[in-house]
Each structure stands twice: as C-alpha cells, then as structure tokens.
Amino acid sequence: MAKIGIPRTLAYFLYFPFWQAFFTELGHQVVVSPPTTKAILDRGVEDAVNDACIPIKIYHGHVAKLIGKADFIFSPRLVSLRRHGDFGTETFCPKFLGLPDMIRVAIDKLPPVIDTRIDLKPGKEELLKACQETGDMLGHEGKEVLAAYKKALAVQKRFNQLLAKGVLPHLALDIIEGKKKEEDLNRDGFDLNIAVVGYPYVIYDPYVNVGLLKLLEKEKARVYTQDILSNKILNKQQKYIPKSLFWYFSNRAVYGGLYFMKQKDIDGIIHVTAFACGPDSMVDKLLEIECNKHNKPYLTVSVDEHSGEAGVRTRIEAFVDMLRYRRATR
C-alpha cells in the first residue's frame, strides 16, 4: 500500500472522485493537500517560476505540501479529454501540458511523480489505458486495475449526477465524501440568479477568489456555473462563435457564459479570472462583447496574490445592487 498525494487544486475540483476511488480500490491511501492557505501560496510563489499565473503557483504550493506525507505525487499530464474544436485539437492551457516537468525542476525533495499522460482524443477507451499505465507503475495486475477503473467510473458518475442537479462541484465533493447531505443544501430564499463562469480552480477555491461564492449566497443570489450544465447544452454553444478556443476549461467557461447570457431568468454574469492568465485575455473579451450584444450585465473579477476580500466585496455588492435595481425596474 502506498500513499498517493493529490494536490487540492486544478483538475481536483472536477475529477477527484474518479481518482480517489481508483486508488482506494487498488488498496492505496489517498492523501489530499489541505485547502489553499496563504502559506501554500507563499511556498508556491517561492518555488514556481515568477512569471507564472497564481493557479500554477498555488499548484506548486500544494505539491510541496505533500512532501513527507505521500509516497507518490499524482500529477497526470492533461492533454485532452475529448476530440473537440474546429480541428478536433482541443487541449489544455500550455502550462498544464508542461506541469509535471515544471514541478520536477522547481521543487526540491519531490517524491516520485506519477505523470500519466491523459489524451482522450482518440476515444474514451484511452482512459482505461491511462489507468492501466498508472496501475503498472504501482505494480498492479490488469484485472485489478479494470475493477478499480469500473468502480471509479461509477463514483464519478454519481458526482456528475449531483452536478446535473445543480449542486456546485465543491459541495458535490463534500456529499460524495459524506461530509454533507444533499438534503441540507440551501435552495431557498434567493432573489437573484447569477451565473459565475471561469476555471474550476478559480471559482471553487475560496482562497483564490476570496470567498466569492459565499458572498453571493449572503447577498441572496443563487449561483449557477458552467459545470452544472450538461455537455450537450454546453457544446451547442459552439456554433455561436466563429471558432472555438483551444483549451478545454476555456471552452467550458465560454460556452457556459454564452448559454447563460441567453437565459431570461439569469440576472447577470460574473467571470472570475486569474490575473495575467493567458487564455483568459481572449475568454474575457469575448464574453464581454457577447454580453454587450445580449444586453446582459457582465462583471469581470480578476484575482491575484494580493486580492483583498474588501475589494472584491465592494465590487460584488455594487454589481448585485445594480442587478436588483434592474430587476425592480423591469
């Protein structure tokens, strides 16, 4: 039995259930780094190349946090999850593509890194192959791996079903882990609907976005994100733009935004973006222009190492006030 370390960021927010179930089923212990803190960010800032964006720095911090606690770091190389885009070449932000190599150079005393390459462009069966490869590294037989893979798919499916019911991923993770019950989720008392779009590691990590979702809840706004929409709905949006973007998470954010801006009962859209994020310079402008065309209120919240709660709160409050006023005058 080995301890497998998984950083609590980036793909964690959407795909953790799968990998947790997979490794647990194989008899390993999954160790997750704690929720992001200032100390984690500071460590990341120290280790990562200084021009990196904050999510990548935070990733470095989470990986460092697992040193001494895990025998392996699970840092799969996410290349693609589907064949999508105008040329079928959708991939991830280049920083994801080089991530395992970056942490190897940047972080001292790193335990062995499991950097299985995940490229599902050729078909879904590739995921099983990736699992086999990962199982191989840990000395497992094909049969065992197949069983763990099936179990993992089932768990991920349960998670995805929760999302489809409108449960946001960070809450769905709590439910899957038994920390929360579905019945206990607050579903009433909202008088505004706000769509929040952006990368999962930006919108579901309360440290990164300085508690944005809680803030909205307090303001009695019900939050929708792209991750509760089905792939079918999301992908339908492709036809409304001249060309899809090249990055999986960016396409999801853009498609989500395009869908929500056409919904009458959505009062406004917030795009949360990490300071100096490359892909987002395109995503944000595109959403802004499209929202203008659709006459839908739009707010960009850009977060960085020094974002203060107060600053974000002022902007959110002003936005929410404006939406309420708009609702009242209609």
Binding site: A52, G98, A276, C277, K285
Partner: protein, 365 residues
C-alpha cells in the same frame, strides 16, 4: 481589394510584391512604432500578449489608410496565436471598423477552407490558376532571399570595422530584392546583395562571442518588437544565430516536420511537445546551441507568454546541465531600449569573463 497584413521583420517586401502581383492594391503595414503599440494597448485586452497588441495597432493603422482586408494566419493551438484573428475581428467590429480579416488556417487542418480562401483572392485579383501559382512561387523565392541576406548580415556585423556599415549594406541589399520581379531577377539580386554585405570592411582577426537567440516567433522575427536585439548584439561584437526564420518556420511547421528533431533533444526535460508557440523549441534549441559551442543563449518572449514561461521554468536546469548561460528577456509595452541594452551588456560581460577563465583553465591544464 485593398489588402494589408501583419508586419514581421522584412517579410513585408515579399508580401507587398505578392499582393500587388495577384492584382490587388497593397496597403503596406508600417513598421510597428510607439503609436502602433499605443493603439494596440488601448484597444486590446490588458493581458493579451504583446504580438496581439502590436497587430491590433497595425490593423487600426492600416484601416486609417483604407485597407479593406487583412490577410493573416490562423492556427490550431495550443497557444493563443491561432485565436488572434477571431478576437481582432471581434474588436474591430466593436470599433465599427470596416475591415475583414481573412485568416488562413493550416492547410493540414482544413484543406477546403484553405482552397476557398485562396480561390477568392485569385478570382478577385483576376489571375489564372497558372499565373497565380507562378506569383506565389516567386514571392516564396523573395522570402527566401530576404532570409539569406539577413542571416549573412548577422554573420558579418560583429566583424565590421565601421559601426553601422553592415546595417546600411543590409538595407541596400533588401532594396535590390524589393526591385526584383522574377525568379531570375531575385536570384541576381540575392547574389548582388550578398556581395554588398560581404564587401563591408571587416576585421577578421576578431573572435566574436557566439549567442543563440531562441523564443517566441513574433518577438524573435520583428526587430521593432525586440529593440533590434540582433543588431545591438552585433554592434557589441557578438555573433548571433537565431533559430527561427520565416522560411524555416513555414517549412518546418506547415509542410515537413523537422521540428521533431528539436523535440527529441528537449525530451529529457519536457516530455510533451508541442506545448504551443515555441516553448519546447526554446528548450531543445538551447541544448543544440550548447552542443555547437555557443557561449550563451538569449530567450526572447512576450511578457506572460504561456509556453515561454514553461520553457523559462525548465531552462535553469538545462543551463546547469549543459553549462551554458541563458538570459531571458520578457518584453512588454513598458520595456525600453535602454533597459534591454543594459541587460545585454551585462550578459555579454559575463560571457566574456567565462571565456577568459576557460581559456586560463585550459592553459593551466
């Protein structure tokens, strides 16, 4: 149609000829200036990379001069460049500019679209297919000749006795290419041009430092974006070689894939390729320069350039393993010529000292 295109180094000479000989009016894009950048910065998203901003500014400038169509390249990722045209078009529309961008996506991705766009340019220019092919071939020869001439100038400059002679000769040679109108004339101009550059008075007893230039294509190819770094280094007495030329670029990335060799060299350091832009190339080429006995490498990249950040994070290890100093210059709208000069001078100083101490070591042994 009144056609324009992005400015990239001296390539406009060939593209201007191409547009005119297809039968269109060419609005030659001005060399990017402070004004170009200011315009770009004003209308582009804050965190767009600098090539995006400069092109944005260029498009607005040629729009003022009456351009109706921009011809540029597309791309299939993984980096932003392939999405430039979409956002440029969005922004131009928002500004109410009547400017259409025709982007050529890589023919390997969408051959039909590629032919459709070519067909449109040819038809509206009034050329037969045969004439059209001939014109394209000739333009290609022009680009190659321009690259040859420029390459030679970088070899000669560190030996020049009178500062600035080589650059003056380069312009003279480029002017000859500009005036050539057939494959034969281009070849003659190329020969003549090379001669003009070779005739620059030189001190061949010098043993210049050798520096390789790697990085993101636009800032490597556009001297106006990199503060004429190759001329600057040449005039400091340093011989530079750069990995990217338009001809090698198109040859490698679009038709033959010799890039694979570079990827293979880089593989011990980065297992994935490509990762967008020239990220993996920067790693592989640094190794190749080290193996070829270069004294140092300069990595040129736009500020916040995604693949080059990945490369930069890995280069320190390459630099240690191969014992070759690497200087990274990230360029943004605030980068000034003086700052670049100071950093280069310090770097060249370091390289000279290293060479000296290595020589001494050898003497002791």
């Amino acid at each position: 149609m009144k056609i324009s295109f992005p400015h990239m180094g001296h390539s406009y000479i060939a593209f201007k000829w191409l547009v005119e000989n297809i039968g269109h009016e060419c609005i030659v894009p001005p060399e990017p200036s402070k004004r170009t950048l200011d315009l770009g910065v004003r209308y582009a998203p804050e965190f767009a990379c600098i090539p995006f901003k400069i092109l944005m500014g260029t498009y607005l400038e040629v729009a003022e001069k009456g351009a109706e169509v921009i011809i540029t390249s597309g791309g299939m990722g993984p980096c932003r460049a392939g999405y430039y045209w979409v956002m440029h078009q969005y922004i131009l529309n928002e500004l109410g500019k009547d400017l259409e961008i025709i982007a050529f996506e890589p023919p390997l991705c969408d051959l039909k679209d590629f032919w459709r766009k070519l067909h449109r340019l040819r038809k509206s220019g009034g050329l037969s297919v045969r004439e059209f092919i001939q014109v394209i071939k000739t333009a290609w020869e022009k680009i190659k000749a321009i690259d040859d001439i420029e390459m030679r100038s970088h070899e000669v400059r560190p030996y020049e006795i009178n500062r600035g002679d080589t650059t003056r000769a380069l312009w003279k040679a480029l002017d000859m290419i500009d005036k050539a109108n057939s494959v034969k004339e281009i070849e003659e101009a190329r020969q003549e041009g090379l001669k003009v550059i070779n005739q620059v008075p030189q001190d061949l007893s010098r043993n210049p430092l050798k520096v390789g230039i790697v990085g993101e294509i636009y800032v490597v190819l556009e001297p106006a974006a990199n503060h004429y770094i190759q001329i600057m280094l040449g005039e400091m007495g340093v011989q530079t070689d750069r990995s990217i030329y338009l001809t090698s670029y198109t040859r490698e990335s679009a038709i033959i894939n010799r890039e694979e060799d570079i990827f293979a060299v880089a593989r011990p350091y980065i297992k994935e390729a490509p990762i967008g832009g020239h990220g993996v190339n920067s790693i592989g080429e640094t190794i190749l320069y080290a193996k070829h006995g270069f004294d140092g490498v300069v990595q040129l990249a736009p500020f916040a350039c995604i693949p080059e950040i990945v490369a930069k994070s890995i280069l320190p290890k390459v630099s240690r393993d191969y014992d070759i100093p690497v200087l990274t210059l990230f360029i943004d709208e605030q980068t000034g010529k003086a700052g670049v000069q100071t950093r280069l001078e310090a770097f060249v100083d370091l390289l000279e000292k290293r060479r000296e101490s290595k020589k001494r070591e050898r003497l002791v042994v």
